[in-house]
Each structure stands twice: as C-alpha cells, then as structure tokens.
C-alpha cells in the first residue's frame, strides 16, 4: 500500500519537476529540461497506475480512501486539513489527467522545439499538472479550491506564454479575470457551505447532506453558487468568452488545459458535489439548461469560424455544455465519461491541429489550407478519427458518451425533451462544422503558397501522442458500451458507488427493459443519422459545390455576420461591463483613493518621520555610554510601569 499511504507522492512529482525546471532549467540544454519535465510527469502517471492497482485491492468499505497529512488552517470551528481523497471518480480523473498530460508533454517537446523560454514552458506545464492533480485528489473543498485557483494561474501564465504578443497577454488577463467572476461565486458557495454544514470535508458534508431535506433554498443557492464557479472555469454561458481567446496560447496548452483537463474541472466539481446537486433539483435544471444552451450556442458560432483553433475552442465549449447537460439530467457517470472521451479526442484534435499549423509554418486560417491530406497523412488520419469520435459515429468513443447523455436527457430520471432536442441540434451542428474543418483543411486544392510553404509531417515525438490518442478515441468508448450494443458497461458499474446517493434520490423511470433497449437503439440510431446528415451537408458545401457557402452567406447576410462576430458578445461585455469598470477604477479608485488618500497618508507619514528625525537625531551623540544611559532610563521606566501594573494586579 505504498501509494495509498503516500498519496502526496503523486502531487510531489510534478511539483518537483516544476521547481527544478523553473529554478535551474534556464541554462540547461533542452534535453535536460525534457527529461525532467517528462520524467516527472511519466513518473506521476506510473504512480497513478500503481495507485489504481492498490485501489483495486481495497474493500468496498475502505472507499473513499481519505488520507489527512497535516492541519492546514484552524480558526475556531473552521478547520482545514491538507487531506487527499481517492474514490472511483478520482481514479478516473487521475488516469485521464496524468495520461493525457504525459502525452501532451511529449508532444510539446516537439512543438515547442524552436520557441524561447523552453524551460519556463515546461515548468508551467508541470506546475499545472500539480495543481490539476491537487484539484482532483482534494478531500475537502478548500484544498480543491487551491487546485482550482492554481490551474487558473497556470492557465493565465501559459495563455500569456508569448507575453510580448499583446493579444496573448490580453487573452491571459481576460481568461484570469473572467474566470475570477465565476470563482467569486464559488468562494461564496464555499463559505455558505461551511456556514450550513460546519465543515468543508467532502465526506462529512455528504454525510450531513444526506440528512438534509431535498430542495431547500439554502442547498439550491449553494449549488447555484458553486455552479457559477463551474461556469467560469468550464467556459459556459455567459462566461465562455475567455476560452476562444485563450487559443492565443501555444497549441499544446490549448490541448491540455483548454480541452482535456482544466476546463473540465467544473464538470468534475459538479459530479463530485452530486449528493448536493441531486438534492437541489432547481440547481440541476439550471445546470442542464446552461449546458444545453451553451452546447447549441457555441456550436452555432463554430459554424463560421475560419481559425482552426477557434473552431476547436467553440467545439470544446459546446462539448463541455454536453457534459453539464449530462450532469444536469442526473447522468453524472455519462457526463464524466464524456469528459474522459472528450479529453482523448479533443486533446487529439488540438494536437493534430497543432501539427497542421506546425506543418504549414504557423498558419491558422483554414481558408489558407487545404489539400494537406497527402502531405501529412498521419495527422490527417488521426484527426479524421478524432472527428468521427466527436461527431459521435460508432464505434468511436464519442458515440457512446454522447449517446448516453442524449439518452438520459430524453428518458433519464430528469428527462426533458426540449433539452434533448437542443442537444440533438447541437450534435448536428457539431458534426457539420467538424467535417467542414476536415474538408477545408485536408481536401480540395492547396490554398496556401506552395512555393513558400513546404508542408511537412511533424517529428516523431509529436506523432506518437497523436497515434496513441487516436487509438484511445477509437476504443476508449467501449468501456461504457451498454449491454445491448454487446458491451459490458464497466464504467458505470465502476463509478456506481460515487453516484449511489444521487441515483437513490433520482425519480424512478417507469419503463420495462425491452422498451428501454428499443428506445435506446432508436435514439442512438437517430443520433448517428443526425451526425451523418451533418457530414453530408459539410461534404455538399465544401467538396461538392464549394460555391454554396458564400452564396448562403450572401443570402443570409445578417445571421452570418452575427455568427461571424460571435453574437457581438465581446463587444457587449466591453460596453456594459469593462468600460464602466475601467472608468470607475481610473477616476475613483486610482486618482481618488490611491493617489489621494493612500499615497497622501504614506507621504505624510514619511514627512512627519523626517521632521521628527531631524529633531531627534541630536540625541545621536555617537557616544555609546550615553546610549547605554538612555537604555537604562528606558529600563527604569519599564520596571516602574511593571511595578505599577503589579500593584494593580495585587
């Protein structure tokens, strides 16, 4: 039981890597930095693997396995241990995060080859791994919050990695600030949580919650507040705006942080809190609605984007929407499952996109690509697989996860046909814009200057992760293949215990086995058909008659421009929030409070001190004996005082 007793090792490894690279890496050769970064992360992954082995030996009564290392904060009743918790959910997250993280580290060694600040990049990356693992393994919400903010920080650092580029720096700031809005809610949620349950430890909270009546206002508000945090972190409506801009960061970062891991933290949090959420139906409805809305909304924006990474970004947002939809309709397992598969194929998509960009020398505009199929076959095939996966075509990973979510949206305990419809529509759009991406990038004639740019396949260390992820996004789904599709639903059975409480609460669905199966078959069939339709539309538009899109754009000028400008959301925010804030900060806080009051006070103090010093320095005769005498005078005074006090005490 090495690792069960020493969970901290898993955290320590990436942290050590970050520290070493950050402190000493500056003048090291790339190879050294690589070995440290990749070494630490791979070790972490191995540790996780070992942990899983040991975990599998645990008896059901020993789960969740909680290990408290030291008391971090104590203030009155408020007590926070630095405690780590391992249960099935944690295991899933750990595996996903550490594995994808490792692959992306390897990929980065190739992608960042020619970039400056190499060591800095990997140090940040490792740090991110550390915080993400902390977030996942936290046994109480405060430690989780540490991880939560930590990943935010790393995201900021990495988005603004090329901080000389203004857009990048701004994007970093934007990501940080917008997320902060959500975190505000999250923080309040935490406080409310403590105020309600008198503890921050998950175990105790859940225990207490199980006595708590369903649907009380306080519970609902807690869940909503926590969900606000999730909205910010996982880029849901209305706080999604930072994610597309975050694409300014290096592609591996987009893959790791803004597709595979960090942005899914919100989903994880909601799933982790399922005993609370399942007790607050209203909150769950809110989650579901926001999820579905985001899924559809950002998919629409994705339709018309031309920057390959932007498209993927919006697709990420919409997929996250799916996950929340899943959680919202009580299919937490499905949500988490989609989280995992999404980590695989979306990570793959980003990496492949990165490989494409790398191939044609940093060009990101899809209109300047095309015909790359032959040039970079491996990238092409892997990306195609990923696309099939995300559009939810069997037998790829996305099919199962998406299908589940949709099924439970339609027939689950919290079924809601409207949400189902929206989800389905989103699926259609998804498959359309994904194939649009594929076609624009890989098919047709080359729209870039063949003489200047010589498209070339990426180096091994970039391709290997692609292939591995491709395999995963192909077979990854079979873990949760439901019975009637000839699978044994391992995933649900595995996660079962975690969501037991939630499932117990869920209203029973009255439907007999056979009917359920037929329905499920029909639904999945429908989903596939939808996906295919999307595919054919994309094929028609971009292969068969490439003129159509422009004609369409002409005829639907209004909507098109609206979409192209992402519903002008950024502009609206700018006008409604940023500008006023800026004005207040400048005139009131800066010139008023800061310069006027604070600086004034400080300078005043300084002036007084200087004057007084001028007078007092006469005492500084430089004769130590005089000083000694002054000391004695002081002593006499103090003793006299003591004597006085003594009398008072007597």
């Amino acid at each position: 039981m090495l690792l069960l007793d020493h969970l901290w090792i898993i955290l320590a490894l990436p942290l050590a890597g970050a520290a070493i690279n950050g402190l000493f890496g500056k003048n090291w050769p790339k190879s050294a930095v690589n070995s440290v970064a990749i070494g630490s992360v791979s070790l972490a992954f191995l540790a996780v693997a070992e942990l899983v082995r040991e975990f599998s030996l645990l008896g059901a009564d020993q789960i969740p396995w909680v290990k408290s290392y030291f008391t971090w904060i104590t203030a009155g009743a408020f007590r926070v241990d630095f405690a780590l918790r391992v249960d099935q959910l944690t295991i899933v997250m750990l595996l996903t995060v550490s594995f994808v993280g490792m692959l992306i580290h390897i990929y980065s060694t190739g992608y960042m080859e020619h970039e400056g600040g190499y060591y800095r990049f990997f140090s940040y990356l490792n740090l991110f791994m550390f915080f993400m693992l902390t977030l996942v393994m936290a046994a109480n919400i405060v430690v989780m919050f540490v991880g939560w903010e930590g990943v935010g920080l790393c995201s900021y650092l990495l988005i603004g990695f090329w901080f000389l580029k203004k857009t990048a720096a701004d994007a970093g700031k934007k990501a940080f600030i917008v997320t902060r809005l959500g975190d505000f809610g999250f923080t309040v949620g935490i406080l409310l949580l403590f105020w309600t349950f008198g503890t921050v430890d998950f175990g105790e909270i859940f225990a207490k919650a199980s006595q708590h009546p369903v649907g009380t206002g306080i519970l609902t508000s807690i869940c909503l507040l926590l969900f606000t945090g999730a909205i910010g972190k996982s880029a849901q409506l209305p706080l999604y705006v930072w994610l597309p801009d975050a694409m300014e960061g290096p592609t591996p970062v987009s893959a790791l942080i803004h597709a595979a891991t960090m942005v899914t933290a919100g989903v994880y949090m909601v799933a982790r809190m399922n005993p609370l959420f399942s007790r607050a139906p209203i909150a769950m409805l809110a989650v579901a609605i926001v999820g579905a809305a985001t899924a559809f909304y950002s998919a629409t924006i994705g339709l018309v984007q031309t920057d390959i990474k932007k498209v993927l970004a919006y697709s990420t947002v919409s997929q996250l929407g799916y996950m929340f939809l899943g959680c919202g309709v009580g299919a937490y397992a499905a949500g988490i499952f989609h989280l995992m598969t999404h980590a695989f194929f979306k990570g793959l998509l980003f990496l492949a996109a990165g490989s494409v960009i790398h191939a044609i020398g940093g060009e990101q505009d899809m209109q300047k690509m095309g015909g790359l199929r032959k040039k970079i076959p491996v990238t092409y095939w892997t990306m195609l697989i990923a696309t099939l996966a995300i559009t939810g075509l069997p037998p790829f990973a996305g099919f199962f996860s998406k299908d589940e979510i949709l099924y439970s949206a339609f027939a689950g305990p919290y079924a809601n046909t409207i949400l189902y419809g929206v989800g389905l529509a989103a699926a259609l759009l998804t498959s359309f814009y994904m194939f649009r991406l594929i076609f624009l990038t890989f098919f047709g004639e080359a729209r870039y200057d063949e003489h200047k740019v010589h498209a070339h396949e990426s180096p091994k260390n970039m391709l290997v992760p692609l292939v591995i992820l491709a395999i995963l996004s192909t077979v990854g789904g079979w873990l949760a293949a439901p019975k009637l599709l000839g699978g044994e639903d391992y995933f649900h059975n595995f996660l079962g215990p975690v969501f037991a409480a939630a499932d117990k609460l869920a209203p029973a669905v009255e439907m007999n086995e056979a009917a359920a199966h037929t329905l499920e078959l029909e639904l999945s069939g429908l989903a596939v058909v939808i996906a295919l339709i999307g595919f054919f539309l994309a094929w028609w538009f971009y292969i068969r008659s490439p003129k159509t899109p422009d004609k369409l754009a002409e005829s639907l000028r209004g909507p098109y421009t609206v979409l192209l400008h992402k519903y002008y959301v950024d502009e609206i925010y700018l006008a409604l929030i940023v500008r006023p804030l800026l004005w207040i900060s400048t005139n009131v806080l800066w010139h008023g409070a800061d310069e006027g009051v604070i600086d004034g006070a400080v300078n005043g103090t300084g002036r007084v001190a200087r004057e007084a010093g001028g007078q007092l320095r006469e005492l500084q005769s430089g004769n130590a004996r005089s000083y000694a005498t002054w000391v004695v005078i002081g002593a006499v005074g103090v003793t006299a005082l003591l004597l006085g006090l003594w009398r008072v005490v007597r």
Partner: protein, 102 residues
C-alpha cells in the same frame, strides 16, 4: 535544616544586575563593558534558577542553559568585533569610538 527563602536569592540577583548596569554605564573599556553584560546575564540566570526552585520546575534551568549558550556565542562574535575594532582604531576606549552618529 531550613532552606534559604527564595526572595533572598532574588534580591541578590537584583543587586548583581544593578551593579552590572552601573558597570555597563561607567566602564570605558569595551572588553570590560562586555563583562558587565555577562554579569547582568549571570544575575538573570540566578533569578531563573531561584524561580525554578520556587516552583520546582525545571524549565527555568533550561532557560539558564540557553542563556549560557547564547552568551557564549555572543562573546565569541563580540570579542572578534573588539579585536577588529582595536586593529582599526588602536583604542579600547568606547568613548573614542564615536563614528556612529548623525
């Protein structure tokens, strides 16, 4: 065999401390001033031990121990400083070493 009352020891320590203070103010030789400090420390130690005896608790003795250790360190560094001072200024008289002023 009756024991000596604690207050006797305390008064003695007070007296020694006072004398230490006087020495501290009145001696001009840096080394001697150092000794005055040591004398005060000793007085304090006596008080510590006396109190330890009064309450029959060993902690007082531990403090004495620490005081002695610190005194040793202080003497080592202080005397090194004295040596350097003398090497630079050819005088042990503290009143001649008066650069430390406005």
């Amino acid at each position: 065999m009756t024991a000596v009352p604690i207050s006797y020891y305390l008064v003695l320590s007070a007296v020694l401390f006072g004398l230490g203070v006087v020495a501290f103010v009145f001696k001009r030789n840096i080394i001697t001033i150092f000794m005055a400090i040591e004398l005060m420390l000793n007085a304090v130690n006596l008080a510590f031990v006396a109190f330890a005896r009064a309450h029959n608790q060993l902690d007082g003795l531990v403090f004495v121990f620490f005081v002695i250790v610190v005194a040793a360190a202080e003497a080592a560094v202080g005397l090194a400083i004295v040596i350097t001072i003398v090497q630079n200024r050819e005088s042990l008289n503290i009143e001649r070493i008066n650069l430390l002023k406005f």
